[in-house]
Amino acid sequence: MNQSAVYGELLFSALIAAGIGRGLSKFLDLPRRLPRWNRLLSYLWVPAAVLFLAIAIFKLRSPLIGEGYFLLVLVLLLAVLLAVRYHRPARTLLFAMAPFVLYKALELLLEEPDGKLPKAYDAFMDTTRYFVLIWLITFVFIARSQKKTLEKERLVREEEEKAKRLIEIQNVELERLVVERTAALTTQAEELRGALTELRTTQAQLVQSEKMASLGELTAGIAHEIQNPLNFVNNFADVSVEMLSELREEQARPERDLALEAELLSDISQNLQKIHHHGQRAASIVKGMLEHSRASTGERQPIDLNHLADEYLRLAYQGLRAKDKSFNATLVTDFAANLPQVEAIGPDLGRVLLNLFSNGFYAVRQRQLRGEAGYAPTVSVSTARQGDEVEIRVRDNGMGIPEAVRQKIFQPFFTTKPSGEGTGLGLSLSYDIVTKGHSGSITVNSQEGKYTEFLISLPIHQAG
């Protein structure tokens, strides 16, 4: 065998070794798994180069050199595979290559120095070669498919990891959003609470101003109501003084008219009672006015509803008359005799009645202004006992309330009056006073253009 053939074989072996080394490195992902061994694999050409030089220097011609080099490479590869045997395809490759390397080693051992196998082993070695090659190829394919499977699994795992990470990121984002929203909601709740407090304050102020407004309406009525009793107090007092002096004159006479004296005395005594009565009347009007302007004390007392209704009907009427002199109406009262007293907050119920009467007068006034012939404006109030309750009906034959409006009249701030004339709180306050304050009910019944009737039912005894 000439030297060039030896070179050729060595070169061929070196190229195949480099190819296999490169392939194996890629197949097993050696740069990652075994960086050091991988670097070593890239120096597979070095022994080949050394042998090259040896051949050139020592003029070696043995064909065994190339095969020896190849075996060296194979052993090295086996060692690499052994090092990564934890990797299943590597194990399979190890399994695939082992017989092949053994065969190669055996071949090298049995070969004569000229590179030829002795004839005796020919048949055996041929069979064995085929067997190891098929073995090798089969297991290489198996390793490949194993690797593919692993790759797929890895991909799936990676996808899962990715999805997991994504979910984690989303979770973090969600948590951030939740925190953000919670903060926003908390702020909003705070703001709403503030607004609510403000509204409550405003409402309280409006309630107070509504009270003051109705107080203003009342003042005129009260002035009138108070002048009448005062007129009697002054004049009965004066006339009593006159009568007393007349009595003295009579007593001083020699012929006393005893019948006249007795008449004078009885008149004086009667007058004193009248003075007392009208003084009381004035006092109760002033008291009523004070109670009206004062915030409710919430004190329940037995109340004579007939008396209360009568008093406030007059007050409402005079109040309106004071503002509008051309207005007049017929007041009809129908009070149940022996009506039981009701446990109630007098000033509060008075406000309710005043409100209903004022509305009634307003309604008949509106209808009167239309100039219907023969229209007699009438506001009436009646009381009745119904079992454990007392009913008060306030009825007017005014404009009536349309169905659509009727549903809203107890809402706060709802008013049909021109702006500035009504706060829209009168009926809503009345509703609160009757339902919340007295556990009663207030309902309305009306026919448009005919009448309106409010019905208040109050329990005679408050529960609890």
Binding site: H224, N235, F236, Q270, H278, K325, N328, A329, L331
Partner: protein, 125 residues
């Protein structure tokens, strides 16, 4: 001299009867009382031409004193009826309105009876 007093306060009757007890005893003045404008009109229709002086409150439920004044001036022209208004409101508006409707006088509550008496005696003479 017949006087009709119109007021929704019933104690007015006692007051006038006591205040004018001497005049009533003398037969100088005769008083009749009506407790609403409607009642007053009814009385006037029934006792036409007897009443010379009407003393009326203005603020009354139902027919007001001013309305009554209007009816009286319209219905009972002859003999001329003297109509005096008595009110708890001494405001200019009521006064102007009463005068425009033909009221002869305008008195304010609390009523000063000495003033009223002198006015009545002036009318009487």
């Amino acid at each position: 001299m017949q006087i009709l007093v119109v007021d929704d306060e019933t104690d007015v009757r006692d007051l006038f009867q006591q205040r004018f007890r001497r005049e009533i005893r003398n037969g100088e003045l005769q008083f009749n009382f009506a407790f609403s404008g409607e009642e007053a009109l009814g009385f006037l229709r029934a006792h036409h031409s007897e009443v010379l002086i009407i003393l009326s409150d203005i603020n009354m439920p139902g027919m007001s004193g001013l309305e009554l004044l209007g009816y009286v001036k319209e219905e009972f022209e002859m003999p001329p009826t003297t109509m005096m208004m008595i009110t708890a409101y001494g405001d200019d508006e009521s006064y102007r309105q009463a005068m425009a409707l033909g009221a002869n006088d305008f008195l304010v509550k609390p009523l000063d009876f000495s003033v009223l008496k002198s006015k009545l005696s002036q009318l009487n003479s």
